[in-house]
């Protein structure tokens, strides 16, 4: 009997693995991951690299020189003093000889600046200029009041604050940043994979049903074995894709300083990875069951999206909570949600990544999750058994009940 489970399992895995859609989606995702890991280089490669000339019409006394001095180290911006009319400056910008021009003047004793450019979408340049002007202003004002340079420095010196966690296992600041990045990446992967492969299962079931092959299948193998073979076959497929994409990401990140620093790849905590895989698989199983059961009561493939809606919303809700939880992992809301089976795979994993969670809490959450999966499996497979024999014009949630009745005596 177990033999048949393996036949379905391998058939599902191999057929999907050979399919064009798997090939294409893997290539595209791997490419995107590679792209993101190389983002800094790509941006560098695309930037024009040349200096941006900015004209300055100075109606104050001495601001231009100070601003010039401030921006000397900036290689992107080159300032040019403009003594002619503003009309001419406008023309220079419009003919693209200048990138932009600014007008500096004093209004009621305070400096006022206007920035003119063809468009003001590039916030980098304005930001730089604004910062430089701020420094100039402080220096000017300080001079007026009569502060010395040292006094100014003393005024603006940042406070050195070091955060020290007293709890024994609490994570250090640096560890937290690393953990946040890793958790974020894994949460996102979980979200993507659960949605992608969950709906793949639902499509698969609905297609088998609508192509009416289901009745042949379940006359030779019990629907429960068939369902499990399919869910695990696709789970293996998702892991295959995950490993491929992860390897591509890891390999390309080795050469990227930005992401390596961000993720602290040098010392990836192994336990976190293991928890990640455990919660990923459990979350996948939970949602795969839900999707499969819904797929079984759909009569036509076109109805899949409509029926999938509520379950998809659950996944999205879990993800949104997780995003909130990344910044407030200790909040009681997040703690409570980490025990709700539909959210636990993401939220409990997040807490494990960000905090020191007592083992019993983790165990309790996993037990609840496994219990729910087992419960869904028993009830879901009954509905599945009935659902695959049912053909209606339009599917609705009422069909769940009808499918349930069909398997009764």
């Amino acid at each position: 009997m177990n033999n048949k489970f393996w036949i379905v399992f391998l058939h599902t895995y191999v057929t999907k693995l050979k399919s064009k859609s798997f090939f294409i989606s893997t290539i595209i995702t791997a490419f995107i991951v590679f792209g993101i890991s190389q983002l800094d280089r790509i941006i560098e490669a695309f930037s024009d690299g040349g200096e941006k000339t900015i004209g300055v019409i100075d109606e104050t006394n001495g601001w231009y020189e100070s601003l010039q001095a401030q921006l000397q180290s900036n290689k992107e911006i080159k300032l040019v003093r403009h003594n002619k009319s503003e009309e001419q400056a406008k023309k220079l910008v419009q003919t693209e000889q200048w990138y932009a021009y600014i007008v500096l003047h004093i209004q009621h004793g305070k400096p006022k600046v206007t920035y003119y450019a063809k468009n003001i979408a590039d916030s980098d340049v304005t930001h730089e200029i604004e910062q430089a002007l701020q420094h100039v202003k402080i220096a000017m004002m300080a001079k007026q009041i009569g502060l010395t340079y040292d006094q100014i420095n003393a005024l603006y010196a940042p406070i050195a604050m070091e955060k020290v966690a007293l709890e024994e296992h609490a994570k250090t600041e640096e560890q937290l940043n690393q953990a946040r990045a890793i958790v974020y990446v894994l949460l996102f992967a979980m979200y993507m994979f659960v949605l992608m492969y969950g709906s793949m299962i639902m499509m698969e079931v609905a297609t088998e049903k609508s192509s009416r092959i289901m009745e042949i299948l379940i006359s030779s193998i019990s629907p429960i074995q068939q369902l499990f073979g399919k869910i695990l076959g696709i789970a293996l497929l998702s892991l295959t894709q995950f490993v491929i994409i992860f390897s591509v990401g890891y390999a390309s990140m080795k050469n990227s300083d930005m992401l390596r620093q961000l993720l602290g790849m040098n010392e990836l905590p192994l336990s976190l990875m293991i928890y990640g895989i455990v919660f990923f698989l459990l979350g996948y199983l939970l949602y795969a069951m839900l999707f499969a059961v819904l797929g079984s009561i759909v009569s036509r493939v076109e109805e899949v999206q409509q029926m999938a809606g509520p379950v998809t919303m659950l996944v999205v809700a879990a993800f949104i909570m997780a995003m909130f939880g990344l910044n407030a992992p200790e909040s009681s809301f997040i703690t409570a949600m980490s025990f709700v089976p539909f959210f636990a795979p993401m939220i409990m994993f997040l807490r494990i990544g960000m905090l020191h969670v007592p083992t019993w809490e983790i165990a309790f959450s996993i037990v609840l999750l496994v219990g729910t999966i087992a419960f869904l499996f028993v009830f879901g497979s009954k509905i599945y058994r009935g659902g695959v024999l049912m053909y209606n014009q339009a599917s609705s949630w009422k069909d769940l009940k009808r499918a349930w009745q069909l398997t009764k005596k």
Binding site: T15, S211, R212, E215, I216, L406, T407, K409
Partner: protein
């Protein structure tokens, strides 16, 4: 004993789909289920296969209840035709055959034999969606018989096929029966059932109205048909006692009579009244029995 159904009833909520069916189908026999849509044929088949649990009663094959342990002994062609549209014929049959407990080599051997027999060997490596409906049906039939089942259940095997393919499939079915397969099938075409089966069961609204051997049924039915072709005043025939029904045909009439002896009275009545080209006394058709028992015209 082959397939035995004892007081089998299936209810869906308050609706009774199959109502107290008791039948026994002998091994190596060919048994036909007749009935309009919704008569309960498919539900009965699904219960035989174990896809549905009977509300009451029991179904056994050679004394044992049918479970998935027996699936390599049973072949099934469902009413709702379907295959994986994107899979090639060969891949498809290998998958379905392996689920019935066969090895790949045996499947390929069997598949080639059947494809050859159905004159479609060129489709071995084509995707199912590229095949015509009739050819898809042949593939599905192959999937049902690949593993040499002892019990073969065919739900409307001939529907949607052209006459040439119907003949081809009929021959295959007869062949399988000769080789010892027990075959249960349903059809909405009376002539198919009449040609193939020794035993039948007519279902109506979940109830088995009649069942037994066709010969027996026809004999006990009593009524016969008289066919007359010729130029005669047919209008007066209704007055003869024992004539139950007169049906006008192109060349003459078809009469239903209460028993054989009435035919002789008819013959005497029409004698020398005109030119008689044909006069024959015939057994009732299954259709006559069906109409009589179900009380309605059968939906063709």
């Amino acid at each position: 004993m082959g397939l035995v159904l004892q007081h089998v009833t299936k209810q869906f909520g308050s609706f009774t789909a199959v109502d107290d069916v008791t039948l026994s189908i002998s091994e190596q026999g060919m048994f036909g289920f007749l009935g309009a849509n919704g008569a309960g044929k498919t539900t009965t088949f699904r219960m035989i296969l174990g896809l549905l649990e009977p509300t009451k009663g029991e179904i056994t094959w050679k004394g044992e209840r049918i479970t998935y342990k027996h699936s390599h002994l049973i072949g099934y062609l469902p009413e709702e035709r379907g295959l994986y549209p994107k899979l090639k014929v060969k891949e498809q049959l290998i998958y379905l055959g392996r689920l019935r407990g066969l090895h790949k080599e045996e499947i390929v051997k069997e598949m080639r034999y059947w494809l050859e027999r159905f004159k479609i060997p060129q489709y071995e490596n084509q995707k199912v969606e590229q095949l015509s409906k009739g050819n898809q049906q042949k593939i599905q039939f192959i999937a049902a018989v690949l593993h040499h089942p002892q019990l073969l259940i065919l739900d409307e095997p001939f529907s949607g096929l052209d006459p040439v393919n119907v003949e081809m499939l009929k021959e295959a079915v007869i062949d399988l029966q000769r080789k010892g397969t027990t075959i249960v099938f349903s059809s909405h075409r009376m002539e198919h059932v009449e040609q193939l089966c020794e035993h039948i069961c007519i279902m109506h609204k979940g109830k088995p109205i009649v069942h037994g051997s066709i010969k027996e049924l026809k004999r006990s039915f009593g009524k016969k048909n008289v066919i007359i072709h010729g130029e005669l005043p047919f209008e007066t025939l209704t007055d003869i006692p024992g004539v139950l029904k007169v049906e006008k045909m192109v060349e003459g009439v078809r009469l239903q009579v209460a028993d054989e002896s009435v035919s002789q009275r008819i013959l005497a009545h029409i004698y020398a009244k005109g030119f008689i080209r044909t006069f024959s006394l015939e057994e009732p058709s299954l259709n006559d029995i069906f109409i009589e028992k179900v009380g309605a015209t059968y939906e063709q």
